[in-house]
């Protein structure tokens, strides 16, 4: 709006006296500068508020996690010597580290399984011909659209029958099942982006499917694989409902442990709660800051479907 006034002033200069020399023009240009400055101050203030709103809550949790045990309930003061005692316990797998270790193992293996099976299926959907291809693809992707709530009861009963409740195996099984459709979707897109000509000329040179996979598809779908793997790891790592239902003590994940620490309002275990929570958010924060461009597209796609 200001810009438009300015340009019309500019047009007027040709016929009338230059506005910069009249007192009126001087006032209005000063006003304009003032306005522009206050606008950029407004933007700076807004951004600072948005960033503080986002960052400070996480920082406060971090502060709580290094507060010495006896000061935890001592008013939210910041006057203390940080203690890393609980982070030491986090590195001991039989103490605070146990649930975090369970999360790490199950999310990694679940992701590995999903990436392997999902990518192979994506190769089949991209390069092979078979009946009912479209409906089958839709069906698989559909299973990601309904929430985990839909299958949690039967999955619980199946795992109970298999005597796998409260084991890491059970977690790996359900995590992989949940993420295969996501991997299939991401990898299908990535593989479709590889020019046909490259694949066809490899085939003309006598390459069989395994050779094409190794020599052409793998080297060219790196970013897709990274996106699929990291997204699926984040979803497994953050999952709560399924671990809550199928694990109880030995195999409970970090997210389930967090719930256990908060169970009683009066006797919340603030130390373990804050430390394990920080351990559970640290990897995803690192992923987000380091690999944002990879993640954002995949995340929004994953959510639009999920």
């Amino acid at each position: 709006m200001r810009v438009s006034r300015h340009s019309s002033d500019g047009l007027g200069q040709k016929s009338l006296a230059p506005p910069a020399q009249t007192p009126k023009g001087w006032v209005s240009s000063a006003f304009r500068i003032l306005r522009r400055r206050s606008a950029s101050i407004g933007i700076a203030v807004g951004l600072t508020m948005f960033l503080s709103w986002t960052v400070l809550p996480i920082v406060y949790l971090g502060v709580l996690s290094v507060k010495p045990e006896r000061l935890l309930l001592d008013r939210p003061s910041l006057n203390f010597r940080p203690s890393l005692e609980r982070y030491g316990q986090l590195l001991q797998w039989d103490k605070l580290g146990a649930p975090v270790k369970n999360s790490l193992i199950s999310a990694s293996l679940g992701t590995a399984g999903a990436v392997l099976l999902g990518s192979m299926a994506a190769i089949a959907f991209t390069l092979l011909d078979f009946r009912a291809k479209g409906p089958l693809f839709f069906t698989i992707v559909l299973t990601r659209m309904y929430p985990p709530m839909t299958t949690v009861i039967p999955v619980y009963l199946m795992l109970r029958r298999l005597e796998l409740l409260d084991t890491l195996t059970a977690l790996v099984i359900v995590f992989a099942a949940l993420q295969i459709p996501l991997v299939l979707w991401v990898m299908h897109t990535a593989l479709n982006a590889i020019p046909r000509d490259i694949i066809e000329s490899a085939v003309l040179d006598g390459a069989s499917l395994p050779v094409v996979v190794r020599k052409v598809l793998l080297p060219l779908s790196g970013p897709g694989l990274v996106t699929a793997a990291i997204l699926s790891f984040i979803f497994c790592w953050n999952d709560f409902l399924l671990p809550l239902v199928i694990t109880s003590s030995a195999a409970r994940t970090g997210t389930v442990a967090i719930m256990a620490y908060t169970e009683t309002y009066r006797n919340v275990l603030w130390g373990p709660l804050s430390t394990v929570s920080i351990a559970m958010v640290a990897p995803t924060i690192v992923f987000m800051l380091a690999l944002r461009t990879y993640l954002v597209k995949g995340l929004t796609a994953g959510m639009l479907k999920g």
């Binding site: 709006m1 438009s4 986002t54 959907f125 078979f130 039967p154 967090i258 639009l304």
Partner: protein
């Protein structure tokens, strides 16, 4: 494309079958079994197995006052959370839609909440609002404000969960709306300015119509997701005080895994999903045509 490779059957067996079979066994069949179970009476604690009761569970739904109450709370939660997220998301998107120093870092930081475990988000706000350790009750005390026990009165308990949800998901709104704002054609904005429209008028009559599609998509997305909220409630309030924050997901979880009435829990799941699908259907139909192209653009860009 014709058959590119020989030995199709073998390769289909190796590449396609394992993944597809796996998903069918652990995702598709269980979903169908949930439908089956919804016609059964099955209490895990007493019954040796499920027994057929026809539509009795479904008839019980409409007389289940607890369920209807939790549906009301869920609706209140989803509408409020989505609305606040839209307003804040739009504001921040407008704020970020310009050349900024350190733009990448700022964007990265702003988006962090949405990748955190929902349980951790709940912990963060549980800590911030808890009257033993939280800075917020402390600050309110410092300025001699009212003593608020956030998790022990109904409406503040719900408010706490909404705040946590807003904190977690406003970044998604920001992200989607920023993408839409950057797609707004510069020429139309400049043309309106030349015609002497004020900043507000430009936004209202030029920018807004061009991002309505994305707003509709984003709102639909968030609303559906908020409807399924579970994690934050279990951490922050456990559904209480009383059942005042017991969202439908929490109600289902309790019915299934605290009272072990699996058959009826399955019925609620199915009815709830059908309700959600119907809402979504009507929502899509109510949208103007251009919303669809926006949603297609998004899924195209994302995939």
């Amino acid at each position: 494309m014709g058959k590119l490779f020989g030995r199709q059957q073998l390769f289909l067996g190796v590449f396609l079958v394992p993944g597809v079979a796996y998903v069918l066994v652990w995702r598709l069949l269980p979903a169908l079994y949930t439908v089956y179970l919804s016609f059964m009476s099955y209490n895990l604690a007493f019954d040796p197995g499920p027994t057929w009761v026809g539509i009795r569970n479904y008839l019980q739904l409409v007389r289940d006052d607890n369920l209807l109450a939790s549906l009301g709370v869920t609706l209140k939660f989803s509408v409020l959370a989505t609305f606040v997220e839209l307003v804040l998301g739009l504001g921040t998107a407008i704020l970020l839609d310009r050349d900024l120093p350190l733009r990448n870092l700022i964007m990265g930081l702003c988006l962090v909440p949405m990748v955190l475990a929902p349980v951790a988000v709940a912990t963060i706000w549980y800590v911030l609002l808890h009257d033993f350790v939280g800075p917020i009750p402390h600050l309110i005390r410092l300025i001699h404000g009212p003593e608020i026990a956030w998790f022990t009165t109904s409406w503040t308990a719900l408010l706490s969960i909404i705040v946590a949800d807003v904190w977690e998901w406003t970044p998604l709104m920001t992200l989607l709306l920023l993408a839409a704002l950057q797609g707004v054609s510069r020429e139309t904005v400049e043309a309106a300015m030349v015609d002497g429209a004020s900043g507000l008028q430009v936004f209202r009559f030029v920018t807004l119509p061009q991002i309505t599609g994305m707003i509709a998509v984003a709102v639909g997305l968030r609303f559906m997701d908020a409807f399924l909220e579970l994690d934050k409630v279990l951490i922050m309030t456990g559904g209480g005080p009383g059942t005042s924050t017991e969202l439908v997901s929490v109600h289902i979880y309790r019915t299934a895994f605290q009272f072990f009435t699996l058959g009826y829990a399955a019925t609620i799941v199915i009815a709830f999903l059908v309700l959600l699908a119907v809402i979504y259907r009507f929502y899509l139909r109510a949208l103007p045509g251009y919303a669809f192209s926006a949603s297609e653009r998004m899924s195209g860009a994302g995939g």
